[in-house]
Symmetry: C2
Subunit: 174 residues, 2 copies
Amino acid sequence: MPKPSAKERILDAYQDILIEHGIGAITLEAVAARAEVSKGGLLYHFGSKEALLQGLIDRVGHLGVTDIEEARAASEGVVRYYLRSSVTDVTQDKAMHRTTLAAMRLIGNEDAIDEAMRDYTQNWRTLLTEQIGDPMTADFVGVIGDGLYLRAMLGEDTSPLLDDFIELLARLGI
Amino acid sequence: MPKPSAKERILDAYQDILIEHGIGAITLEAVAARAEVSKGGLLYHFGSKEALLQGLIDRVGHLGVTDIEEARAASEGVVRYYLRSSVTDVTQDKAMHRTTLAAMRLIGNEDAIDEAMRDYTQNWRTLLTEQIGDPMTADFVGVIGDGLYLRAMLGEDTSPLLDDFIELLARLGI
DNA sequence: GAAGGTAAACCGTCCGGACGGTACAGTCAA
DNA sequence: TTGACTGTACCGTCCGGACGGTTTACCTTC
């Protein structure tokens, strides 16, 4: 695996610090240090803290689109794909999962993040509705995924719940 | 309704700012201004920003206990009480609901908050298991409540979902 | 009941440190 | 030569917290 470009590394560092220590630990110097870049180097790529945030939002947008595409094509089915990617699964370590977790740390603190996350959940809701048929049931599945994410944010390992939840949903004909 | 004591007003202001503008907007001066108290007055009651956080944690603890007690005694049943209090219901405006929403803004930023929230969800899980019997199904209901809270954090009005969700759970024999 | 005392409740200013951002001169690989 | 940085020095602002008052409520004693 080649070393990612500095810009990507900076964004990764931004995410990592958000996930591990939260928004309060985000300083330009801390992000730069984690990315193994000088402060000047960071500011070369992202002209301000605000630009760094925008970088994360863009990433949520891009990864969100490809995530939905992959889900649509997944052989296991959309619902199972959705729940699996909502669960903390150490073995997969998907890019979108980390990005989402990082973005969630900013919910309520940055309006632009709230909007990006609403868009993302809305896209999922659309796909789930398309797949399941009934919008109400689709919302139900959507909320379960969100709940799993919230638990992940609290540091809980939710992977043991996956199969049980899928079985319960199967009983509802999903 | 008499004017609450300064200490309560300060904690209310702290919550309000967290909910409306997030952790980044929390400064001693902002909280003091919102509570209509001087900065010195605030520091008289809470000796530091850390103490303010501890005040919120204590509140989560106290309200959490009474919340669980009320749920246990609720004529509508524990599950319905749980889901109803997870939903954004403008008409009720329960103290615990606001406190939880405020505390959620701090998840991942303050270890002590994470722990308090884990305790709170754990207490609910225990009660739900006791009520439903099967721990796996209880977790299922628990996660749905969490998902509703996450949506509330994103500013969504989740109250229309309540009855539908209860009906879906009824189909599972809950 | 006036005077005096006391402690809790509260006010407003000041200081030091942290942090975002600027500026710029130098390095180095392609 | 140009783009991608490094490293250092610096500035202005913001914020936490310390601190030295001041007001209010409530005794107590003459």
